[in-house]
């Protein structure tokens, strides 16, 4: 265990966060906010730098970095970014309680979009921007971002990226890690910019366009409006948002392949096919149930709201246009299933990931075949290439870890919830990084009323969901810190 390198990386990475805080400072100046807002960010930056110097300043001699250290760095960085990112809210007094601020930040970085705020419209521009901006950073990953902008020579940093990029398999686009990170971030930013422009065309004001685009890009879901996207009541904005959410729920490697001109292989991608067919069938079924239950008389409106909700849930974004808690139970159950599925591997979406589900499903069918003929040799294939037994086992084990964690989270918050549905909904929404919930009293429930313990559990739930469990387990496992003695 090379603790020095961990300290070094964490210290460097929180400085990056301090650097990023310059952006909300700029926003504060642009919108002529009271000086106290600007000051709150500057104080936070000061604190971060101070702490980073306390942790370490020296670059360690020994630069070896293994999977364990990588996991630890990722987990610690995410937790510290969340804790420090919450400081300006508290200093400016816009979110008076620190734990609430941390919850808001964890929700931001993990791209959950669950909020403790009942009224977001009263917040200042700089706070709203910082909140939404955290989606943009968290979506692609803070370390991937750091790798993209920092001159790092160490080849070991691949462990960092592996620990942070969502999905069962991590593949580099080009042979150099830094270039891979740069390509990913370029695609990410360009797509985000396209979203901004499309939203501005839809009549959204520039500031809101940016904030919502960040939410879409990171598949987060923080809005600048209490009524979320529904505030605008514009079919154009909803379709743009819906489509762009789907784009960000796709594996970014696919966009790179499109740029390279390999369009055919993109459409041959098995995960994409599953992803799209799930979306199409879910939209179809829910539209039908809505129609049969007479929720919408007009088919166009029906499809518009259904598609938006499906897109928002499967990509784990969590934007809302309508309150779907009064939709049929079938529809709600499908939404719950979509929450589990989540986006594609290598996207900014959360959840279990389409790739894992596909592989686990295929492996299950192979098991059925084995029942019929025990001598049969079965091979689980994904994207036309066979998976080794180890790879399949890893995915099965992840499914188990996923279920255990989810059940544990739900169990821990039950003392604080009125009923089963609320507890499950809260657990799934945070763990899958969605951020909407259907509970007894409406679908978008702010998490304001939970007690401190539940909030801490949910904070962990969000980060664990975003980092796909293992980094946090490494962080919390005592074995990690055992030295040779």
């Amino acid at each position: 265990m090379n603790i020095k390198i961990v300290r070094y990386f964490v210290s460097k990475l929180i400085q990056v966060e301090a650097g990023l805080m310059l952006l909300p400072c700029l926003i504060s100046l642009i919108y002529g906010e009271p000086f106290s807002n600007l000051l709150s960010f500057l104080i936070a930056m000061g604190i971060i730098f101070l702490i980073s110097f306390v942790i370490t300043t020296k670059k360690p001699e020994l630069k070896t970095l293994h999977t364990k250290e990588g996991m630890l760095i990722v987990a610690l960085t995410w937790i510290s970014w969340t804790c420090f990112g919450a400081l300006p809210f508290v200093i400016s007094g816009e979110i008076p309680f620190y734990i609430d601020a941390v919850f808001e930040m964890a929700s931001g970085f993990s791209t959950t979009g669950a909020s403790i705020l009942r009224d977001v419209e009263s917040l200042s521009h700089s706070t709203l921007f910082w909140r939404s901006f955290s989606h943009l950073i968290g979506g692609m990953g803070v370390l991937v971002f750091a790798l993209a902008i920092f001159p790092t020579g160490a080849s070991e940093t691949v462990h960092l990226m592996r620990a942070e990029v969502p999905g069962p398999r991590f593949g580099k686009l080009v042979s150099k890690l830094k270039e891979t990170a740069l390509i990913l971030y370029t695609i990410y930013f360009v797509l985000t910019l396209i979203t901004v422009i499309l939203l501005i065309f839809g009549g959204m004001n520039v500031f809101d366009s940016f904030c919502h685009s960040f939410g879409i890009a990171g598949t987060g879901g923080f809005s600048t409006r209490n009524a979320s996207i529904g505030f605008y009541n514009s079919a154009y904005i909803e379709w743009v948002t819906g489509m762009m959410m789907l784009m960000f729920g796709m594996n970014f490697n696919l966009f790179y392949m499109v740029i390279l001109g390999q369009v055919v292989s993109v459409f041959r991608n098995e995960e994409l096919r599953v992803y799209l067919s799930v979306i199409i069938s879910a939209t179809g079924i829910i539209t039908l149930t809505n129609h049969l239950n007479g929720i919408y008389t007009d088919l166009a409106t029906n499809i518009r709201h259904t598609f938006f909700s499906v897109s928002s849930v499967i990509t784990t974004t969590g934007y809302l246009t309508v309150d779907f808690s009064d939709w049929a139970l079938t529809a709600l159950t499908i939404f719950a299933l979509l929450m589990f599925i989540g986006g594609m591997a290598g996207s900014t979406g959360g959840g279990f990931k389409v790739a894992r589900l596909t592989i686990a499903g295929k492996s299950m069918f192979n098991e059925f075949r084995l029942m019929q003929n025990p001598r049969r040799v079965t091979v689980t294939k994904f994207n036309q290439s066979p998976l080794t037994v180890d790879q399949v086992t890893r995915i099965r084990n992840y499914s188990l870890a996923y279920i255990f964690c989810l059940v544990l989270i739900i169990l821990l918050i039950t003392p604080d919830t009125p009923d089963m549905q609320t507890a499950i909904s809260a657990g799934m929404n945070t763990f899958n990084n969605i951020g909407v919930g259907f509970a007894t009293d409406g679908s978008s429930v702010p998490f304001t009323d939970y007690n401190v313990f539940s909030k801490i559990v949910l904070i962990f739930s969000m980060i664990a969901g975003r980092l796909e469990i293992y980094p946090l387990i490494v962080l919390l496992s005592p074995n990690t810190y055992l030295s040779k003695s």
């Binding site: 003929n373 001598r375 049969r376 040799v377 079965t378 091979v379 294939k381 066979p386």
Partner: protein, 482 residues
């Protein structure tokens, strides 16, 4: 022709014997002197002991002046490198035996890039042979001509068939579109005339359009429905090729493969998702019973051991499996199974030898002879030859009935641009036609060789109507695509 052969393995030896018999000058390069000695004793060739990739040895063997260089050692790389070397030294044509499936997938590219005229893969050829035989289950063996558009089927006449005791003239009246090319009775092969009478146990070589052949089979109760469920025992390379060929075929097959080695089984299952791969001993009766092997339409035995393959074939024969194909590597044990007619025997070595002899003939064409393709039938007792008729040939523009052909020769069909003609006595061969001829005599080099010197009654099918005119059905040979 001046031919240099590298490597005296199974194929090399067979080639030496065959090609020397046809009067070519053969120089054999082989590492083992004893082997050379043994072959020289049996055939009229000369040998050089040494490595085939050795520059000096190649010079000594006269590679720069040879017409054909064939490298058939057991090692792909040696074959390729020696062929490239021979090509650069100035050999007319170069042939390399390449068995690795990794090279095998892009043979065209490899061939062009390396300057090797022909790359031949025994296992792939064997797989093609098996696929062909599976696609026409009622015949014992199938030869395809004109890129698989015309097939020759070998069939056995059994006692209860309506054909028994039928004479050939009546046969022609009943099946106007089919041609009997040759008949094997016991050890003797005849090219039948009008008075020939079929007997039970005759092996008949038939040709005609595939559709007509299928109808013929159905009418005579020879064919049942096409083969669908296939059980392959042994999951080696041939199986891999076979799966690929059958996967691409237009007809859909259901394949089950039993393989003993877990890794090989896994790799096969990973490569081909549509086939069922079982891990187990395919020679174990319990394993076979567990999967109800008697319900399969065809059983293909491709294990590494000849005897096991034959045994599996015999077992399958007991269960009246419709099509049984066994791979036998060693030609020495062939006579044991050849005669019972229950199973089709595939011998990769013979297939490759046959291909290479055909290749040699084809290239002799450029130097005077004009044999385009050559098939050996009935265990080499007769030959089917495809000729290209040149404008200066003596046989053109004469009605067939006026042609004076040698004994035991039959003009089976004429291929003219895009049509196949099963000729009558009034048909005329034109320049640039391709004709296919069945002959008991071997070693024709030119189409004019079929003409007799004496005044004999010509042999052709004078009472068969011209079946032709419609453009040929593209009855795709799956093997062609691979």
């Amino acid at each position: 022709m001046q031919i240099v052969i590298g490597g005296a393995g199974k194929i090399g030896q067979a080639l030496c014997l065959e090609l020397a018999d046809e009067g070519h000058d053969i120089i054999l390069i082989e590492k083992d002197e004893n082997t050379i000695e043994r072959i020289i004793e049996r055939s009229d060739i000369s040998g050089i002991a040494g490595s085939v990739v050795d520059y000096d040895i190649q010079i000594e063997a006269g590679v720069p002046d040879c017409d054909l260089f064939i490298s058939v050692t057991g090692n792909d790389e040696i074959n390729l490198i020696s062929a490239i070397l021979a090509d650069r030294l100035g050999a007319g044509y170069t042939v390399a035996r390449v068995g690795d499936p990794q090279y095998g997938t892009h043979m065209g590219l490899m061939r062009r890039a390396l300057g090797v005229s022909l790359m031949i893969n025994p296992k792939l050829e064997a797989a093609r042979e098996i696929a062909k035989s599976i696609s026409s289950p009622s015949s014992v063996s199938v030869e395809s001509f004109v890129h698989g558009r015309v097939n020759m089927h070998e069939m056995i006449i059994d006692e209860c068939s309506g054909l028994c005791k039928l004479n050939l003239s009546d046969f022609r009246k009943r099946f106007t579109s089919l041609i009997v090319c040759a008949v094997q009775r016991g050890q003797e092969v005849v090219i039948p005339g009008g008075s020939f009478i079929f007997e039970a146990g005759d092996v008949v070589l038939l040709t005609g359009f595939i559709r007509d052949l299928e109808q013929f089979c159905i009418k005579n109760g020879i064919a049942q429905k096409p083969i669908k469920d296939i059980l392959v025992i042994g999951g080696g390379e041939i199986t891999d090729y076979l799966c690929r060929i059958l996967e691409r075929s237009t007809r859909k097959y259901k394949l089950t493969v039993i393989e003993q080695d877990e890794d090989i089984a896994w790799a096969l299952a990973a490569e081909h998702s549509d086939i069922t791969v079982l891990h187990g001993d395919g020679t174990d009766h319990d394993v076979l019973q567990e999967i109800n092997y008697d319900l399969y339409d065809a059983i293909v035995a491709l294990t590494g051991i000849d005897e096991e393959n034959i045994m599996i074939g015999l077992l399958a024969a007991q269960k009246s499996i419709r099509k049984i194909i066994s791979k036998v590597n060693r030609t020495e044990i062939l006579p044991i199974v050849q005669d019972n007619g229950l199973q089709t025997i595939i011998t990769p070595k013979s297939i490759v030898t046959e291909h290479l002899v055909r290749f040699v003939r084809a290239h002799q064409n450029a130097m005077g002879s004009n044999v385009e393709a050559l098939h050996r039938i009935f265990n080499n007792a007769a030959e089917v030859l495809e000729f290209c008729v040149r404008p200066d040939s003596k046989i053109i523009d004469t009605p067939l009935k006026e042609l004076n052909l040698k004994d035991n020769i039959l003009i089976v069909f004429i291929l003219r641009i895009n049509q196949v003609i099963f000729p009558t006595g009034d048909d005329v061969i034109k320049a640039d036609d391709h004709i296919v001829v069945v002959s008991k005599e071997k070693m024709f080099d030119d189409v004019d060789d079929i003409l007799s010197d004496q005044k004999n009654k010509p042999k052709f099918l004078d009472d068969i109507a011209d079946v032709e005119v419609e453009p040929l059905r593209a009855d795709k040979d799956p093997a062609d695509e691979y």
